[in-house]
Subunit: 145 residues, 2 copies
DNA sequence: TATTGTTATACTCTATAACTATA
DNA sequence: TATAGTTATAGAGTATAACAATA
């Protein structure tokens, strides 16, 4: 027997539980998980094509179309044909979209801070430092040789 | 904007990537992810019913039947009717099952140790300490009030 | 009647392929 | 012809409901 559980066996269910914890907050804002992912991705920087957006959130491009339709209808994003190439749609957050994203994220991180609050500050900082570094690794690096 | 990404946004994709990293190792041992989960759960302690096993790995009970069929056929687990209640099936690992589980887990953790090896020992210990504590929390505690 | 395990069915999510419009 | 976006179809994975055996 190993002296610790597999990382994946700890991290993967924890991720599912954290997503479960997000759902009530997102529901209050009328957002699905995909919709929230889109708002986060567009907030980081506006994107020039839906395909690029889909790739950045690791989704299939056909999967986000309904999500974009809904966000646009509700005035949270703008989707305008690129004048330079009318096949592409320029994507960006509206002010309202930014507001909804920030409000949802504040609610989510409030709960996450409650969870982290049970650990000593040093452990918390080290945990976040390692987690951020691991999360930034490209999947090929995680997969290994 | 928040000063860090949401925990879920970091942890959940990381979990998926770690599972991807496990797949080649599991494939070498002829194991699916569910089969490996079963071997791990039965290794911790033998279980008296399939329903209890399913619950312990957060699976539907109908979902693991084919997995158990296969593991039993290959001699990795034993599934014997409980003499005291012939409806139930006593589940346990065989010696071969234990061997396969240990070999697969060794391969998986070898790669995980490679990933952790890039961090200072202190950070690594703190990371695992916090991660284990979070993974041990019941989902209700993670969900919050 | 209730419970364990099983099988059959339906549903959800996701990806693949076909289509439209621009280039 | 190639590409961005969209729609329609098919596939995988999962859960729900019905069933058989035992209590």
């Amino acid at each position: 027997m190993a002296d610790r559980p597999d990382l994946a066996a700890m991290i993967s269910p924890l991720g599912r539980a954290l997503i479960e914890a997000e759902l009530p907050v997102l529901r209050e804002h009328g957002l699905s998980m995909w919709a929230y992912s889109v708002l986060l991705a567009l907030g980081a920087r506006p994107l020039r094509t839906q395909a690029a957006l889909a790739e950045s959130i690791r989704a299939d491009k056909t999967r986000i179309i309904g999500v974009l339709d809904d966000l646009q209808r509700r005035g949270l994003i703008e989707r305008t044909p690129d004048p330079g190439d009318r096949r592409a749609r320029l994507l960006s957050l509206t002010e309202e979209g930014r507001r909804v994203r920030d409000s949802a994220q504040a609610g989510i991180q409030r709960n996450e801070e409650r969870l982290l609050g049970r650990f000593p500050a040093d452990d918390r900082r080290a945990f976040l430092r390692v987690l951020r570094a691991l999360a930034d690794l490209p999947p090929e690096e995680i997969a290994g040789p």
